[in-house]
Symmetry: C2
Subunit: 532 residues, 2 copies
């Protein structure tokens, strides 16, 4: 399989334009998209589809075995062979979900987590190797003469491709492990009020919390090393030049960050960071007949939306039974995305569905609460639609997300492993019946929605900007041209200290010298006077 | 005179809406504007007029004696009496301009500059005192129940009023003396690549430049103290509470900064900084008959726009004669804003005008070059309209502005005091005839104009946002709640050092103890063996 030729792409462009009808003609640019499979693709897909609809020529490059990245009329999907099957990916997903719910001793838990992360990173790394060393694909990419690359930077494979093709690029991200995003952008992150990932702290930290935050910061570089060092070796080998991971990450023109300070804690930013938090909240679409019926039957009590995210659709039966027990006790109807074995005690008010239109349901005026794993997409949909949340974080950044919403008084967090039916039932009742939660989420929502440009339009603008201007070098700080010694002005401080100490030393020596001369003279004079 | 009552304001609002016709109805909010007279008012006026046109109730509070702040149908101008006349202000302006052109020894120059600054600050300080201690005005302001205050923060009088009225506020600014804007926003400004005001450095500094930058940074606090300490005392006295200048400045919700990284050097920002550089570049209006005629007569060579800004319309005759000599030598027509005595050698191609529509002239396709004092407004108009510049910076930030444009290859800088006729003539010819200057300014212009929202709309959005939501506390970083010791994590570092040293000390002591015991034992054993 090969990429489309220029003529074929022109035909495709005309087709897209004809298909779209009303979309104004914009000079088409060629965009290469390097996504990551899984939930990351959800918001990138929205952006990519929109760019395609606007008449850009978009090519999405993805592994042949993937779960979520499907063909679309708005982009060309180019897949490359990888040495694993879709089945293996699905098994890894189920294993990951199950391991969250397994009660194990701490040491075993850590070993298990390490094993899981290693498995996933190994799979992705092998995919990257296969992509880079596929001569046919690289040749096609070179010939395609793209204008820019849109990359999911969670793993640094896309940037190796962009560097190889010398393409200006943009990243779309929510956050990166070990804070490498803020290192690579040269963005100051004072540890005194910027909580590190996985600490679960807010921006107001006590002394012990700030101490732990500093310690987490200091071990972050180890995590970075563990995760990324294979890519550094791969990049250096493939590009035939020594290149570090930080150098690779810092090449990009624009960082499209799915952040908004309604949700996140205010912190310094750099000029090439564009905040597009809430990019996935796009206007409410009509519900299908099935859901419309369910929703309308909910009466005055309304309904609750329950989903543990795209990656976790089934959970162990004993946990599902506990949850069913809790949901049975509330007067609302519950729409629960769940594909596992039906719990025997499922209440009449609880409807299991294999998939649900989450944003459209949350946008319904009868939506009363949202039980969520606190993934970034769900959280922003909860904020957009002003629905208070009960959060059951499972892994990754979800604990931090839950903490943020809880610290804003817009939801409650439960430990999914240790919670009882009663805990869940009480939490759902609280966020529905205590008006404080609704008021707080409404306040956040009104702040979040009050913006001059929708985050999706903003992201589209910047992708097209980078394509039009072949990058955005005017937003790149000169900090990238300094080494750490210069950046922290240690040479200047050293020089000033040296100058100060030397001046002090010379002054002291002069004083001592003058003092001695005076003493000598007076001691010489004294005997004289005596002799007189 | 008193502020309008609510009923009168409603009538005013209806009048405005009727007058504007097509403007959609937006729930009117009440905005208090506290401007600064002079060139600062130019961009603030554009924003204020726009806010008024959108149906907001806008009251501009200005000293009775002022030069540029005139009544408008889009806002209510409320003046307060001050102990100086408009004549005095004008005299100060002329004195300031003349002193720039006077050749003096360095010491005398510094004394003269100090005297000028003291005169201006004294005038403004007395105006502030008169405003704050006018019981009638303060009473009216209290009763007017404003939603927010829009302030020019160059001197901290407006924020004392906002603090007294407990109003959320926004600042519109280009930059503040001694970098107090970045101190008050808690925005990191690494001295290794962020040049300080008045250094004229770019973001790429050599070691001696970084050293000087550090020294300027260290004396900035003295300048801050000199400029602002009287206001700190005034604020504490008036508000009946101890308040520092930094606390006063940091109260605001949004900093509307007239910055764009096409022109300025990329540096860290804070979430409540909104970049509105180029806010003054609004669409080209038709030229009046007088200018249209002048412009059309310029032929293939086009014309040059020459203005030293709103504050300097006349200069000493000998300098004017030198300039006239230079302008005579170029084939372009020259439109020179100049109100002084006509130079005897004025060329036929040079047209003296008392005022000129600068942006509209620069937007004309026949505009070939812009001779400017490098004030921020002019610079942005030059960028918007892609006209290469010859810059004759006079005072304040103008040297820095000129350096920025020059470092981008979009203009040339001359020392207005030491330049000869030939220097000026050569510089104008160079920027017109060497295509590099035009190409560079066109590149800057295309980057600057390619944005998702016009800076004016962005500023309007944020002013209305602050009025709607009574501030923007979600953008205020927690850094404001830390003292400097905590901010820099010095307590955490101290604790870790103490812990490390104590552990080291105890380990050392243990080792010594064990070693001694071992030695003792072996030395006891030795004699034994001897005795054996």
């Amino acid at each position: 399989m090969r990429l489309w030729s220029n003529m074929e792409l022109s035909v495709y462009r005309i087709f897209v334009l004809l298909y779209l009808g009303g979309v104004p003609f914009i000079e088409a640019e060629k965009l290469l998209v390097l996504p990551l499979d899984g939930s990351h693709w959800l918001s990138m897909r929205i952006l990519v589809e929109n760019l395609g609809q606007r008449g850009n020529q978009v090519v999405v490059l993805a592994p042949h075995s993937n779960i979520y990245i499907h063909p679309s009329e708005n982009y060309i999907l180019r897949t490359y062979p990888v040495p694993y099957s879709k089945q293996l990916l699905k098994e890894q997903m189920v294993k990951s979900a199950n391991s969250v719910f397994a009660k194990r001793p701490l040491l075993e838990k850590i070993t298990n987590m390490y094993q899981r992360i290693t498995n996933i990173t190994d799979i992705l790394f092998s995919a990257c190797q296969h992509l880079l060393y596929s001569k046919e694909i690289m040749q096609e990419l070179r010939e395609s003469a793209f204008d820019a690359a849109l990359i999911d930077p969670f793993f640094p494979c896309g940037m190796i491709v962009a560097e190889y093709l010398r393409l200006p690029s943009l990243y779309l991200l929510y956050g990166l492990p070990c804070g490498i995003d803020f290192l690579a952008t040269q963005c100051p992150s004072p540890i005194s009020y910027v909580p590190r990932h996985f600490t679960g702290y807010s921006d107001l930290m006590s002394f012990p919390q700030r101490l732990k935050n500093a310690l987490v910061w200091s071990v972050d570089s180890l995590i970075c090393n563990f995760l990324y060092s294979p890519y550094a070796r791969l990049a250096s080998e493939f590009l035939h030049k020594e290149i570090t991971i930080l150098q690779l990450y810092s090449q990009t023109s624009i960082w499209l960050m799915r952040t908004d300070f309604v949700f996140d804690y205010p912190r310094p930013l750099m000029p090439n960071m564009v905040l597009v938090g809430g990019i996935n909240c796009i206007g409410r679409k009509h519900l299908s007949q099935e859901f419309e019926k369910l929703v309308n039957s909910s009466g005055e009590h309304g309904f609750v939306v329950f989903s543990l995210g795209s990656m976790v659709s089934e959970i162990p039966i004993n946990k599902a039974t506990d949850i069913a027990e809790a949901l049975k006790s509330i007067p609302q109807q519950v729409l629960w995305r769940y594909t596992g074995k039906t719990p025997p005690n499922l209440g009449e008010n609880t409807h299991l569905v294999k998939w649900l239109p989450q944003n459209d349901l949350l946008a319904h005026p009868k939506a009363r609460a949202f039980i969520t794993h606190a993934g970034s997409h769900g959280i922003y949909e909860g904020i957009c639609n002003a629905v208070p949340m009960v959060m059951l974080p499972l892994f990754g950044d979800q604990m931090d997300n839950a903490k943020r919403i809880e610290s804003r008084g817009a939801g409650l967090t439960l430990n999914v492993l240790h919670m009882t039916s009663e805990d869940l039932s009480n939490a759902v009742k609280a966020v529905i019946n205590n008006p404080v939660y609704k008021e707080n989420i409404q306040r956040l929502s009104s702040l979040h929605l009050d913006r001059p440009v929708h985050p999706l339009d903003l992201a589209v603008h910047w992708v097209e900007f980078v394509m039009r201007h072949k990058g955005a070098p005017h937003l790149r700080p000169a900090a990238h041209d300094l080494n750490w010694f210069q950046y922290y002005s240690l040479d200047v401080i050293g020089f000033l200290m040296f100058f100060l100490l030397t001046t002090l030393f010379i002054s002291l020596k002069c004083c001592t010298f003058v003092f001695r001369r005076c003493c000598k003279r007076s001691s010489k004079q004294k005997p004289k006077s005596k002799s007189q």
